[in-house]
């Protein structure tokens, strides 16, 4: 019991001291969200932390009608490794969420925040992307580049409207605390 409480305290303090905002992906649609997620400093491209290959998983899947929350790198649910790239000339390296570089006071943890996602919607529970005819041909609709619009490396609107539904990226912030949201309707 003591150990459980200790684990909880450590878990909590880890998420409180992190500077990155908590990201919530709410998929209200009837399709599955498959996307890579990118965190960078404000206005620059590096260091870059992402959920993308060759890290595991190589994309974030948020099934239809579910919500995924990510409050800090070390506490990320279902993430075996993040892809970390410190500069344009250095290689991108998969790092376990517990790696010291992903926790404060590391600059990577304190400077970066979720700003972009590149995603596609799939028919729920399948590997078939949502396309004009429901075929397995890679679709052109709802092929989203969605972001907070602050990053020149990853251009994308913060609101996308398609015949299949809408998606948006927004923040709610006050007093130095920011919550980031990706909502799929």
């Amino acid at each position: 019991m003591k150990r459980i409480i200790l684990a909880l305290i450590i878990g909590c303090s880890g998420s409180l001291s992190s500077q990155e905002s908590k990201l919530t992906v709410s998929n209200y649609s009837t399709y599955d969200f498959h996307g890579i997620l990118i965190a960078t400093p404000l206005g620059s491209c590096y260091p870059m932390v992402s959920i993308s290959g060759p890290a595991v998983p190589n994309e974030l899947v948020v099934p239809a009608g579910t919500v995924y929350g990510l409050s800090s790198y070390p506490s990320a649910t279902g993430i075996t490794s993040f892809l970390v790239q410190t500069s344009a000339t250095s290689p991108a390296i998969p790092r376990a969420p517990s790696h010291p570089s992903l926790s404060p006071p590391s600059g990577i943890a304190t400077m970066t925040d979720w700003r972009h996602t590149k995603f596609q919607m799939y028919f729920a529970g399948t590997s078939v992307p949502v396309s004009s005819g429901g075929t397995s041909v890679p679709e052109t609709y709802f092929n989203g580049n969605l972001g907070d619009g602050t990053n020149s490396c990853w251009l994308g609107d913060s609101y996308i409207s398609t015949t299949y539904g809408d998606a948006e990226f927004f923040k709610i912030s006050s007093g130095g605390i920011t919550y980031s949201y990706i909502n799929i309707y």
Binding site: S26, G69, G147, T150, D157, D166, I172, S174, G175, I177
Partner: protein, 122 residues
């Protein structure tokens, strides 16, 4: 008695592992009325009348617009009040700032959700 307790714990653990969506549903159903209302308000941002206007899309800011923040405000107030804080105290602490009230409500929502998830896990 111990054996029964152990069996119950093991079966709960197994159930929660093998059926993630069931666990998610449990968390949802254990949320307070105020938490559920706040979640619904968040979802209602996708209702046709509540979606981003052309002007809001062009604003260049990823911060949710004040108009859309106001959609979340009533349920945020209720959620904060459900912890025993009065309307006057909310006004005093936030100076009536919508963003401050929303961040406060989101923090409460996160904390309560985490508590529920931990209870489901344990």
């Amino acid at each position: 008695m111990k054996k029964l307790f152990f069996t119950v714990i093991v079966s709960i653990t197994l159930l929660s592992c093998t059926n993630e969506s069931a666990a998610v549903n449990t968390v949802e159903s254990m949320k307070t009325t105020e938490m559920q209302k706040f979640d619904r308000a968040m979802k209602s941002l996708g209702d046709p009348a509540n979606r981003s206007t052309e002007e809001e899309k062009r604003s260049g800011s990823a911060e949710l617009s004040d108009r859309r923040k106001k959609i979340l405000l009533p349920s945020a107030m209720e959620l904060i009040q459900s912890t025993g804080v009065t309307k006057d105290e909310i006004q005093k602490k936030t100076n009536g700032d919508i963003s401050a009230i929303l961040v406060w409500a989101i923090q409460i929502n996160e904390e309560k959700s985490a508590q529920i998830r931990n209870n489901v896990k344990l």
